[in-house]
Amino acid sequence: MGDSAYSFSLTTFSRTGKLLQIEYALNAVANGRTSLGICAKDGVVIATDKKLSSTLVDTDQVSKVQGITEGSGFVYSGLGPDYRVLGESLLVGFGLGVELVRKARKSSQSYYLQYRENKPVSQLVKSTASVMQEYTQSGGVRPFGVSLLVAGVDADNTPRLYQVDPSGAYFGWKATAIGKNYVNAKNFLEKRYQDDMELEDAIHTALLTLREGFEGEMTNENIEVGVVSNVDGKFRVLTPEQIQDYLDEAN
């Protein structure tokens, strides 16, 4: 992490008091694939567009919805801006997301080793946000070019959805969207969201929202969905078969 020749931070203030690197990172996120999440009263759903520019890509190997602890999972948005120059920017955005996933998993296991209790999702978010903040104030590194949506059931059994930005700021949401087309997606969610929504409705709504801004046909192969219910408190990534069932219902 960071060349020893770089003891100074690459993220420095502009004259107007902005941290442009962070702004640019947020731009990278806004150009990434759409991800969204909805927090229902009995669970949370997160979903993302998995569309790849070439049919030759093996979609099974691409996984952006990742479980972190038994009861929480991430999805990340924010690949390189140019879809056609896929290879590198895919790897870069992907690699960064993967790195955060790795750190989050390790920190969660570390917590379990100390306390013999699963790390609550709110704590997971705080420590991940802290990591992302470090990369805005350390020598020789740049901020992460990804935003995360974190879904989980917290220590007090309430379902929670959080967004974590490249700056290290985090927000709790009832429902939100990040990445390309997030404005329309959020408007759509605002109209559809209800406080007493159930998980099944939330999954349904999530798919409808994703379809709104989808280029081309949305199938069970080009989206990914993660769900955690407060019945068993376990985060699961839905299989293509399960996604297909929900898609059939939506049609």
Binding site: L113, Q114, Y115, R116, E117, P120, S122, Q123, K126, A155, D156
Partner: protein, 203 residues
């Protein structure tokens, strides 16, 4: 001379019906010489109690360390530490010093998030044991095991648990030169903690 026997201590913890009790002596000595008669070895952490027997400096240090960790936990997590979590934390802290240990043998007693009794004991490097009846620690463990085994019954109510715990401790420390000189008992129920000083032989 064993380092764990330098200062002297006696701690017993027992479970009752929807309650736990923990008792300790209050002697602090420098081998044969008694230095203080109000050195308590049992410390409260919300609904949990930790009893620390062994070298007094480590008893105090570990108490401070646990308070530090408990406070940070409560600030970060916005909830209380359950006794199981506290016990595990303690076990971890001790094992971190595996090759230069703290000379203490702790006991953790409390009510968990469902107000169920919890007990655990561990050695100086953190090896835990979880029981549902009693745990003992200190310089008079032989005596204490004998007394507990004889006097203990399952599901004792608060008053009976208090009596049993007190008698077990008092009889054990009377035959041990290094512990005694006063005793304190705490009983934890879901409604709160009852603490009493025992009138003990001051010799």
């Amino acid at each position: 001379m064993s380092i764990l026997e330098y200062n002297g201590a006696a701690i017993i913890a027992m479970t009752g019906k929807n309650c736990v009790g923990i008792a300790c002596d209050t002697r602090l000595g420098a081998q044969a010489q008694t230095v203080s008669c109000d050195f308590r070895k049992v410390f409260q952490f919300n609904k949990s109690f930790v009893g620390l027997a062994g070298l007094a400096t480590d008893v105090q240090t570990m108490n401070n360390l646990l308070t530090f960790r408990k406070n940070l936990y409560e600030l970060r997590e916005e909830r209380e530490m359950t006794p199981r979590v506290l016990s595990n934390l303690l076990s971890n802290l001790l094992y971190e010093k595996r090759f230069g240990p703290y000379f203490i043998e702790p006991v953790v007693a409390g009510l968990d998030e469902n107000n169920e009794p919890f007990l655990s004991g561990m050695d100086l490097i953190g090896a835990p044991v979880y029981t549902d009846d009693f745990v003992v620690s200190g310089t008079a463990t032989g005596n204490m095991y004998g007394m507990c085994e004889t006097l203990y019954k399952k599901d004792m109510e608060v008053e009976e648990l208090f009596e049993t715990l007190s008698q077990a401790l008092l009889a054990s420390v009377d035959r041990d030169a290094l512990s005694g000189w006063g005793a304190t008992v705490h009983i934890v129920t879901k409604d709160g903690v009852i603490s009493r000083e025992l009138k003990a032989r001051m010799d």
